[in-house]
């Protein structure tokens, strides 16, 4: 969830210590019936399976957007890695968040282009 706009782990925050803070949970992300772009992106990219982690993922992504520190899909993956998804929907989650941030998925380019050829020999 977000406390004063910053990502915190709700399970490790003592509620009374958040007294007076501006708290945002998944319930406050949408604008009435209008889904937040992140919520829509999660649907579009099939970024959930059981949905248990999704509120936390979306709130965390919201905090990530505000931090403005993720400039690549790899950074999105890294900076979202505190949120665990037991279904393993990480690729889709990264796609969803990256799409909202306007980042192109560069994972395909990063994948090794394997072409067997001898580039040298290693002396024993």
């Amino acid at each position: 969830m977000l406390s004063n706009g910053r990502r915190i782990n709700a399970c490790l925050a003592l509620a009374v210590s958040q007294n007076g803070h501006d708290i945002t949970t998944i319930e406050g992300v949408a604008d009435g019936e209008q889904l937040h772009p992140l919520q829509q992106a999660f649907i579009d990219h099939d970024a959930l399976q059981c949905g248990y982690c999704t509120p936390g993922q979306i709130c965390s992504a919201l905090g990530l957007l505000r931090e403005g520190e993720a400039h690549t899909t790899a950074a999105v993956r890294e900076l979202m890695s505190g949120n665990v998804c037991r279904c393993g929907a990480y690729p889709q989650i990264v796609q969803a968040v990256s799409s909202v941030m306007g980042l192109r998925d560069t994972s395909a380019q990063a994948a090794p282009n394997v072409s067997p050829e001898t580039v040298g020999t290693v002396a024993p």
Binding site: R6, N9, L12, L14, V16, S17, N19, E69, M80, S81
Partner: protein, 214 residues
């Protein structure tokens, strides 16, 4: 449920008073400071810690990150990890600290030996205390054979090698050479206290001794 008192003082003097005042409840543990809370709250839930009183120090003006007169860096005790990692001064002059925090932060379950190399100031006494360590993780870690990487990175000469959450930099003693500040965990402790490191959170000496020969 273990009852505990909660106070949120707004200045340092009030916080020190609150931590030193007699406990209001019958608990065998002394009052504790609550800052980020990601460790203490976890341990309270797990019934490992039950302090008589929580002194929430988040209202204190101790989160400054700024350059010191001798071109060093002052990291306030309440400076958040994210703020520290992304601070221009830290980024440009101490990129290792930025990298360490960013690498460590998301991995809540990660364990790490004392990160003295990252946060060590030659004059500072570094003490990783109970509340600075992921005791739960240390217990779990003790149950599995430490990886070769962990063994390799464990300083053999360290008197107290604890597996801590790597994002925690617990440094005390910012005075002159050889001087130790007051214990950051319990103000009633002597300046040279060892601050109650539980034996189960410590890597057994015997295991450490044998680790290198495996």
């Amino acid at each position: 449920m273990n009852p505990f008192a909660y106070v949120a003082p707004q200045d340092t003097a009030a916080a020190l008073n609150a931590i030193q005042a007699e406990p209001d409840t019958d608990s065998r543990m002394p009052p504790r400071f609550l800052a980020g809370g990601t460790n203490l709250v976890d341990l309270m839930k797990a019934d490992v810690m039950h302090p008589a009183r929580l002194v929430d120090v988040n209202g204190l003006p101790l989160d400054r990150i700024e350059e010191t007169a001798d071109a060093g860096l002052h990291l306030g005790a309440l400076a958040r990890n994210a703020d520290t990692a992304y601070h221009p001064l830290v980024r440009t002059r101490y990129p290792l600290l930025t990298a360490a925090i960013l690498r460590a932060r998301p991995r809540r379950s990660a364990i790490w030996p004392a990160t003295a190399a990252i946060c060590c100031n030659a004059r500072a006494a570094i003490t990783f205390t109970t509340s600075a360590c992921r005791v739960i993780n240390a217990i779990r870690a003790a149950a599995v054979r430490p990886s070769a990487a962990l063994r390799a990175s464990t300083p053999s000469s360290a008197q107290r090698t604890l597996y801590c959450h790597p994002s925690i930099r617990s440094v005390r003693g910012t005075g002159g050479a050889g001087s130790h500040g007051p214990c950051a965990i319990n103000a009633r402790h002597a300046p040279d206290c060892v601050c109650r490191i539980p034996s189960f959170a410590r890597r057994p000496a015997a295991r450490r001794h044998h680790a290198g020969r495996r």
